[in-house]
Every structure is written in structure tokens, then in C-alpha cells.
Symmetry: C2
Subunit: 348 residues, 2 copies
């Protein structure tokens, strides 16, 4: 069963035996509006709709905020379809949390009152007070959700989020490298945005750094780690590293946290994910899974194995949790993902 899952974690034991809950945190940063910085969405308008559409796909199996499903400009599908297939397979319940999305998901969801973050290449991401509030709302939300499960799986959907993750980690003096939804990581564009944000820093206070450089998702999920009374599985790639980095500066990271992602992120030599995680939080277990997408029947999914999308909407963590709970092997999960793609194509 564990074929293709690398790493071990006490959190996975909890997922096997207890009740799991998947929370998708949707958010927005106007940094995503910098031309060329993200592939999440076919055009500028649809970028705004990607987070709610991901949430709708994961919870209901179809999008309401857009026609079809979120995709790159050339039609590669959102990783949320992988998340959907995985969570369905193990009947893992799910909830959407709006932590500053530009567009509200069209389904009942957890409302926090948070607003989108600014473009960090031009302005502070948010005020220090809003940063503090985001942490507090994250704590409260995780406290509430902890009562309803034995293990909380947290994914995110925020276009442009790897740029803010990079800026935050650099602001915290980490030698960070981040992934991208494009194989030719748009380093120059990202780097310019990051440098602009870092140029505004005059302190290493973590709240000030987050206020200048982050997006609303990062302090919110960092706050969740402090508020959860059950183990937390951070489902995501380098953006969840940024969450860990901020959480570490705000106080000790609880020892019942794991970070789970796809092998496309974990085994990318250019980002050295495990090394980064080890520096940021040595006690946090890293687990990754090979989705075998190079063997998919669909070209849009095979592209993941060539470096497109790679991760997002908690896909890697959802697959790891689902395989752990339902006892599915790699090939069975791939077949479920392919079938979910078949089903979604008929909806278009």
C-alpha cells in the first residue's frame, strides 16, 4: 500500500484510525495580477475565480464560479481534481475556509471577514493589524474544526502564492527556493516582486515581515497550527514551507504537524524541499507521494510529471491521506484520478 509514499509520520497513523477532515483555505493576493507570474487561470479574470472554483470542484464535483474547471491557459487542469478524486475515494469530509478570497465560493463555507492581500511588488501585503487578525482567525478556525475531527488536513488555493511564500521566507532570512506552476519557473518576474517587497523591510519582527511580504493565507494557516488541538497535515508544497517558517517564528511548532506534498515538488532538485523543511522545522515530518501521472491516460495530467502545476489545492496531501485511509495503491489512485478527469470532461 505504501508504494510511492516517502516518509513516515505519526499524523498518518491518526488519519488511518481516526476521523479526518480536509479544509481548503482559499485566498487571494493581487501579486497574482503581475503579468506572467502564475499559470493558475486562463486569463486575469479567471485567476480570481480559481480559488472558489477549486473549492466548488472539491466539495461538489463541479464548479459554479466558472464554466468547466480551473486550467492553465493551454488547458492543463487544476490539481483540485486530484484532490477531489482522492477525498471521494476515502470519503473524507471537506470544508472550505475563505481567508481573503477575491470571489466568494458559491457554497456554504467558513467566513472569516478577511480581505485579499495587496500586490507585494507595490504595497505592503496587509497591515500589521490584519496580519495579527489573520493569525487569530486561523487559531479560532482550527480550534472550531478540531472539535469535529481527529486529524485536520489543510490545503490552499491562492494564485501567485509561491511568490509571496518566497518573499516571506527571504524576509525571514531563509535561503528559500520555491516551486512554480510552470516548468520554466518565472524567476525574473518573481524575483523582481520579491526584491521590491524586501526593499520595504526595516525589521526582522515576523509580524512586520509577514505584513510586508506574505499573502493572507500564510499567517492564517500559521495561526491554525497554534489553534488546532488535533494533529495537522499541511497539504502543499513550498507555500506550506512558508507557513511553517512563519509559525516557527511566532512560537514553537507543535510536534503533531506533518507536511505532505507530491513527488513533483519533493523531488525537484532545484528547490530541495526536504532540506528546506529540515532547516525550518526539523521536527516536522515530510511525506511525499508519487502520483504516477506520467502514466495517466490524459495529456493534461501527464504534464504534471513534466513540471506543470505539480501541486496545489492540497492534492499531494489528499492523496496521501486517502491512500492511507482507504488502503489504495498507486495504480488504483491513478485510475481514480483518470476517471475523475473523464467525468469532468463530460461536464464541459
Amino acid at each position: 500500500m505504501s508504494g510511492g509514499i516517502h516518509g513516515d509520520s505519526a499524523v498518518l497513523d491518526r488519519i488511518k484510525r481516526g476521523r479526518a477532515l480536509f479544509a481548503l483555505v482559499v485566498s487571494y493576493t493581487r501579486t497574482a495580477e503581475i503579468p506572467g507570474i502564475t499559470a493558475a487561470g486562463a486569463d486575469a479574470d479567471s485567476i480570481k475565480c480559481t480559488p472558489p472554483a477549486d473549492a466548488e470542484l472539491i466539495q461538489h464535483g463541479l464548479c459554479r464560479s466558472i464554466r468547466g474547471i480551473p486550467a492553465t491557459p493551454d488547458g492543463k487542469p487544476t490539481p483540485a481534481l486530484i484532490t477531489r478524486a482522492a477525498l471521494q475515494a476515502a470519503s473524507i469530509p471537506r470544508v472550505t475556509v475563505d481567508a481573503g478570497s477575491m470571489i466568494r465560493p458559491r457554497l456554504p463555507h467558513v467566513y472569516t471577514g478577511m480581505v485579499p492581500g495587496e500586490d507585494i511588488s507595490r504595497y505592503p501585503a496587509m497591515t500589521k493589524n490584519r496580519t495579527r487578525q489573520a493569525i487569530s482567525y486561523g487559531k479560532q478556525t482550527a480550534g472550531m474544526l478540531s472539535g469535529m475531527c481527529d486529524c485536520l488536513i489543510v490545503g490552499e488555493s491562492i494564485p501567485g502564492g509561491t511568490t509571496t511564500a518566497l518573499a516571506l521566507m527571504r524576509g525571514l532570512n531563509l535561503q528559500a527556493k520555491v516551486s512554480s506552476s510552470m516548468p520554466q519557473n518565472p524567476h525574473t518576474i518573481k524575483q523582481e516582486a520579491v526584491e521590491s517587497a524586501l526593499g520595504r523591510l526595516h525589521t526582522d519582527d515576523p509580524l512586520d515581515v509577514a505584513a510586508q511580504t506574505a499573502d493572507p493565507m500564510i499567517p492564517f494557516v500559521a495561526g491554525m497550527l497554534g489553534g488546532a488541538s488535533v494533529p495537522v497535515l499541511l497539504a502543499g508544497g513550498t507555500q506550506m514551507l512558508a507557513v511553517l517558517a512563519l509559525a516557527d517564528r511566532l512560537g514553537p511548532i507543535p510536534n503533531n504537524v506533518a507536511i505532505c506534498t507530491t513527488s513533483y515538488v519533493a523531488e525537484d532538485d532545484t528547490i530541495r524541499f526536504r532540506d528546506q523543511a529540515d532547516i525550518i522545522s526539523p521536527d516536522t515530518q515530510v511525506v511525499s507521494t508519487d502520483l504516477l501521472l506520467q502514466e495517466s491516460r490524459h495529456d493534461g495530467l501527464r504534464a504534471y510529471a513534466r513540471g506543470f502545476a505539480k501541486e496545489g489545492a492540497g492534492a499531494g496531501g489528499a492523496v496521501i491521506a486517502s491512500r492511507t485511509r482507504a488502503g489504495l495503491d498507486q495504480n488504483q489512485m491513478l485510475e481514480l484520478v483518470d476517471k475523475e478527469y473523464d467525468r469532468i470532461i463530460t461536464l464541459r
Copy 2:
């Protein structure tokens, strides 16, 4: 242990053994603005804040939307403090659902996009389309929450809600009688509002009747009954009868539903609660509990035994669920409620 709990229910068995979740549905009807119709709130402005403040008290133990806690004009406290004491005693997790509140609760809560209902003495409560949406949102919300628990306890906080409950039941041709938060039930004021609403009816289609006469909470919670995949305990008095009445007209009521309230409602000879429930839904178990509030150390709580407030914010159902889970007798629960009152007084 079962002293003072009247009635039996398979739903209570589920509460004893499984994971329970308490959902407070907050809503608003402008019918509450008719002078003299409700005692929920010391003045017109604070009536609007009662639902969010109840939610804040139940989840966090203090109110953020108002100073102190919701109270009648002469200082009798909200039943939400009973709900709070009960849920804390049995560590039952809780969530707030905004189904059309005028003021948003100041805590992370489930957002539906619903808006307040109109004053039924003057206008239709809502459009037929919004009524249909409310049912649909209720279904979706209950479907989501069902994944997180083995039994769902649903309370409500909506000032003026007994008037809309009465109007709806009359509109559905039931010989309804409803309770009130005042011992001298303001029959004339309520009756005038109800007659105005009924005067607009030209059909017995349940959606039309609800659109003319109800408040947003009623179709929302009726929808929840259709969407829940676990047993549901309706925690409330005559307003929950209205929910059952509408749910019955929309389709068969699932057999895993119980209605739980205080003895102050269940044993009020003027409303004959059990008889009404039996007519509306013979298969729905009725359970009530005597809170022994005549023996409280606090005059504000003793008033409940004299006919003030009586029920609300799911108090009766929360006490029944909590006593069932935690094995508490009547006196132990009374002591916890009194202590909660002591604690709240120090916050003022």
C-alpha cells in the same frame, strides 16, 4: 441520570455513543422590529445583535457584538448561557451558521449568502426563489456538517421567530399555538402580523406559504433535515415545530429526527407542544427536560420557570444532549448553569 428528561429517542442513543456537533443557526426577520413583539434584546438596536451575540457566547464564552450578554429589557439573560454551560460540560463542539442574520457573528462561521427576512406584517418574508435557495443551502450545509459528526444538534437564534413560526403553521392550515419569550404572550400584536401575512396567501403551495409568512431560518433548517446523513436533534420549541411542518410538506421527514426542548415549552398547557408535534410529524420523537431553574441562585434564571424566555439558542436540546453524553443529573446541570451565570456577571 434521566431524571427530568421526558421522552426517549434513538437519536439520544447516537449522542451517547457517537460524536455530536451543535450548530447554532442565526437569522433575522424584520418582523422583530414591530414594537412589543419580542423580548430578545433590551432595545431595537440590540435585537439585531442578539443572534450574533448568542453565537459568540456559545462558542467563546463572551460576546463581541455587544457589551455584556443579550438580555430582556429588564435584564433577564439569554438562554444561550444555558446552551454554553451545557455544551462546555460535555465538550460538544459547536459551529455557527449565518442563515440571514442582520449582523455577522464576530467569529469564523458558516456563510451561506442568505439575507434577513422582511416584516411579514407588511411584505412577503422573501421571494419564492430565495425560499428555494434557503432550502438548498440548508441541505448543502447539513450535508457538509454530517461528514464531521455522528449526530447533528441544531439550535436557532432569531428574534421575532415565534411570530413567523405561527404564521407559517397557520398558512399550512395547522391549528398552531406558539410560545413566547414573554409570559404575557403578546397575542394581539402577533395575531395582527400573522393575519396580515395570511391575507396575502392565495395558494397552499408550501414554498409560496413559506415565502409569504416564514423567516429565513425555517426553510433553511427544513432543508437541513433533507441534507443530513446523520440523525438530527432539533433543539428548540415552537419554532422547530414550524420547521417540521414545512419539512413535512416538502417531503417525508427522515425517521432519525428528534425535537428537544425545555419543560417550560413542552409543559405549557396553552400551547400543547406534544400534541402539535404529534399532528405535524407523528414519527418524530419529542424529548423535554426540566432545567430546575426555579431553584437557581439567580433571579434572572428563576424567571424562566415563571414563563420568561423559556427556550432559545438550542438551550433545551443542548442540556438534553449534554446530560446524555456526560451522565449529569438535573442538579449537577443546574449548578453548572448557575456557575456560568456567575462567570458571565464578572465579565460585565
